[in-house]
Symmetry: C2
Subunit: 243 residues, 2 copies
């Protein structure tokens, strides 16, 4: 498998991570190779996107449905490790974004709470050919906003994370440029919200995506959103990393 | 102090929390009375919006600056309890949104991580007359997205929460209808982001707000956003609660 690195231009001293992109650059990694690097066959890392006792029956049964689809219908179940630092073992991010390793307990935001059922419970399935994702999301009582319901910000973060992983795997999109959410109904804590994400187009080094979050029976729409992500130029690993 | 309840129309059976508003209704509670109910002089509840050893020097010194402004310049430091269930002891939310009390450990999403410095560190100052807020936000390592930087979703949630408290206190806005964020730069974990929120207008029972998140020296803009919140009609407590 061809390994690649990222060409980045980051002014970390100014806390400025704006990339300088070459408009003529081509984006090289195929979705298949990105997915295979993202989903290691063997790893010692804990995958948090597996069923546990806190999952509600709706979440469990829909998980099983999609798991069946991974066998024949082209869907891929994405693993979810504690930190993006774990994911980049298979992915590689721009070197300017990899902070010096230390002993801190780093966690990706959507896995910040590790007590089963209390925070984020979710699993993302991705379809490389259709360039779409489905995220099964069950908010716990630590994600509360109005009493008994998920905080709007917790859904916003779940959408951003699902967009993010989809954008990277579908087209090397790495950074959120825009997130626009229209909230319709509140999600009761402990229930299932199904997020359907679709890549609408890839243009001018940007990925445009849409998302609808709704109940499993599709009778209740919780929110609709759109996201724009910036593609990141890939180069051969033999090229020098530019900072 | 006049106490009030909310008139709501919620179809919880369908998980639908769309309020049926009376277009002619007036919104009665003054900002002063809302603020005084929100900020109890004496309480046994822990206020998480107080300095701790994890706060960076920038956050500490700006906190002290705003604390001085609370004495003479009309700013109010908002307390931040573990759950909105604690805040509603002074506020009251629509009864349809108050889930039956149980022994769960409920937490407002932005206080979901209680280990100092690991998750959300923030404090919100509100100016009732100017209808604006300033949120001092320091993301910890559990809020990570790209290695070493805050997850975009964690900033989205912080903006939503600051909008939410501002909207309620400035004009009885309770529910996010729309959140639109344009991301500019990443926030390094452990550093300070200053969120300036302004109520732009109140029209047709909606509050329109803007936010800019930037470094303390204003040289780096992290993100700009707008939020629209729905006002909730208040009625005298003697009126029947309508569900």
């Amino acid at each position: 498998m061809m390994r690649r690195s990222f060409q980045v231009a980051a002014r970390l001293g100014h806390r400025c991570i704006l990339p300088r992109l070459d408009p003529a650059a081509a984006f090289g990694s195929s979705t298949d190779s990105l997915v295979s690097r993202f989903c290691p066959v063997k790893t010692d890392l804990k995958d948090y996107a597996l069923p546990n006792a806190s999952w509600c029956p709706d979440m469990l049964s829909l998980y099983q449905e999609f798991l069946e689809k991974t066998k024949s219908d082209g869907w891929v179940k994405l693993p979810s490790f504690q930190s993006n630092r774990d994911h980049i073992q298979g992915l590689k991010l721009p070197s300017g974004l990899v902070a010096a390793s230390d002993k801190s307990d780093w966690r990706i935001f959507t896995r910040c709470i590790q007590v089963e059922g209390q925070g984020y419970e979710y699993v993302i399935f991705f379809h490389p050919f259709k360039k779409k994702s489905v995220c099964l999301f069950q908010p716990g009582p630590y994600l509360e906003g109005p009493p008994g319901f998920a905080h709007g910000g917790s859904l916003a973060a779940m959408m951003d994370e699902t967009f993010s992983k989809t954008a990277y795997l579908a087209g090397e999109g790495l950074f959120t440029l825009n997130l626009n959410i229209r909230f319709k109904n509140l999600i009761p804590v402990g229930s299932l919200a199904v997020l359907n994400v679709q890549v609408e187009k890839i243009e001018d080094q940007k990925l445009y995506m849409s998302c609808i979050a709704q109940s499993r029976d599709q009778e209740t729409v919780y929110a609709k959103s759109s996201g724009v992500f910036l593609q990141w130029q890939l180069e051969e690993e033999s090229s020098p990393w530019s900072l």
